[in-house]
Symmetry: C2
Subunit: 397 residues, 2 copies
Amino acid sequence: MKIENPTPIKWQFAQRAEQLQSSVIREILKITMRPDIISFAGGLPSPETFPVEHMKAAFDTVLSQQGKIALQYGPSDGYAPLREWIADSLSIPGVTITPDQVLMVSGSQQALDLLGKVLIEEHSKVLVETPSYLGALQAFSVYQPEFVSIPTDDFGLLPEEVAKIADGARLLYALPNFQNPTGRTMSVERRFALVETCARLGLPLIEDDPYGALSYRGEPLPKMLTMNPNGVIYLGSFSKVLTPGIRLGYVVAPVPLVRKLEQAKQAADLHTSQLTQMVVYEAIKDGFLEKHIPSIRTLYANQCQVMLDALTEFFPAGVTWNKPEGGMFIWVTLPEHIDCMKLLEESITQNVAFVPGAPFYANEPQKNTLRLSFVTVPPEKIREGVAKLAKLIAAKI
Amino acid sequence: MKIENPTPIKWQFAQRAEQLQSSVIREILKITMRPDIISFAGGLPSPETFPVEHMKAAFDTVLSQQGKIALQYGPSDGYAPLREWIADSLSIPGVTITPDQVLMVSGSQQALDLLGKVLIEEHSKVLVETPSYLGALQAFSVYQPEFVSIPTDDFGLLPEEVAKIADGARLLYALPNFQNPTGRTMSVERRFALVETCARLGLPLIEDDPYGALSYRGEPLPKMLTMNPNGVIYLGSFSKVLTPGIRLGYVVAPVPLVRKLEQAKQAADLHTSQLTQMVVYEAIKDGFLEKHIPSIRTLYANQCQVMLDALTEFFPAGVTWNKPEGGMFIWVTLPEHIDCMKLLEESITQNVAFVPGAPFYANEPQKNTLRLSFVTVPPEKIREGVAKLAKLIAAKI
């Protein structure tokens, strides 16, 4: 029983969807999955850091002891003991975060989508760093804002510039720790100045913090959330400290906003996997992360140093890069005339990949920039890849 | 380091978010979680049907054999072997569904959100059944459509009415098998007529099918997808045949739409848990569902019969209800003057809960209707609850 020769549908997409594109990065990643490619393009954490046995034991415990609850529908705001754990972990002397400020989401990318859905009107002004995290630009874009890029220097965004451009803005989005894509860290003074400025302007400040725990020195800087829990929306994630494939993150925000986000979450996918939340709670409740995270830091710090050494050794004069204090990325600036999108095409023929910087800019792209990730490539391959890339760049200078 | 006495933010929500409300049902569910309540309100499958040991074994196998892959980021369209399995399971002689038509999502509620995001413009006309699934109304509402209710009778929507109201419509949403909330089943003839009408009009037809496998007689009716794979968007779910707490569903649609949905999925949450998808594939690849689903059918058919018998025994004249051929719900119509929202208030004082029918109507609510779920309540409690409810209703007639 089948309709014969039906008229094919002319798909008419909503305006917000017409502009949606597949992420440049994910397209590059598809190419660079080939095993012969040395890929500095990934934003993926190193699988070496995944505590497979520990997770397996946690799944076993939860399914053995509370299987029927874990496999049933759960509450939209999330698994209560995990929300309590998160609230405790973010509280500091003098600043208490409560569990009703916490909403569990399916990775912090979903928090960005829900925040866009709830806060951004068509043509709303949204302030972002220059450059900013591509996933956030994509998530917000769906709601058709007007992005305004906040001027930055090597230490992140310039708080004193914010007031000049904030008129009518709906939110400010910042990634203060080891930013994706630049690896930059915002100083404590700038954090405080930014929080103060946003508080004065009544401007919601989103603090996206997936890498905060990955400081190579092991000393995380104070979170902006703790400087003003009534004005800062904090996004956390288990992707970089536990594993990303399970998709688990959280938003911490003032209660009126959290309740609205919870309603949006309910309409979007009812709730995040109850099993995943219970297993993560089981996996971390006895202090596992305190033992585990230092091993990730050490690995990434070593990998970072290998790449920094290789850059110093091989890259020609006229090329600059930062020295990250944590996280997964190095940001490289080439002489102005070099277009990194074209450089990528050439480097792929040499079996080396990276991510061009242009897509990370909300407004005028700086085409002579690129992002290098060092966490998943073995040291000898880092040296080989950097050397090849250096040769291609040198030929253009 | 904390801002002293910051100005509290006046939250300004986007227009689409202002109208978001918490689901009436989820609010009722919170009340009815009390163990002393006999709740016919739930839309939850029976935990008795959850194959806990089988899932535990599947988690163990996947984490033991492919742990690092399962815990890493995955592709936005989903785990390829599972997409292939789904495509195969939906293909019938003469109609081949291909894996590139399948997008994995975090429960079919997410499919509804993504479809709304991609297809619905503000003021777009969206055709829905009378009444319709509340979760779909909620998901679509975010994108501010104008709902038009398609006339229905006891056998579901009337295909001949569709052409009269379809002018300018962006999509038609239907739940043909054991509908939530009415338990109604659309006949094969009506399915075909509906598919034909939509094809003629070039109108995308969404076939939401979470309960399709739960036919009490074990004979599923033909899917509208197979009648016109170029015009039907099929939503499937593992929630009712395996477990809901893991949040796993899928959309099957023509390729141009799937690619757009994939982009929207990427912006919304990157991808659905890679681990969950690999585990579900591991759990079902060797024919598990074929053995497992009949046990769910038998349980639900028996529970349904207990409730039907109790309704016949206790409910007063003037009250009518349907006899479902599958699924989880019975729909009750009371004399017109009875408002079921008020009835619910009274019945909760008697420790019995149900869901009033009004919220399921996109336009004019029929307030004298209610939905009863029978799958999670033990037989003796079904009789007790129905008897109490009958007494309250009888007092109003």
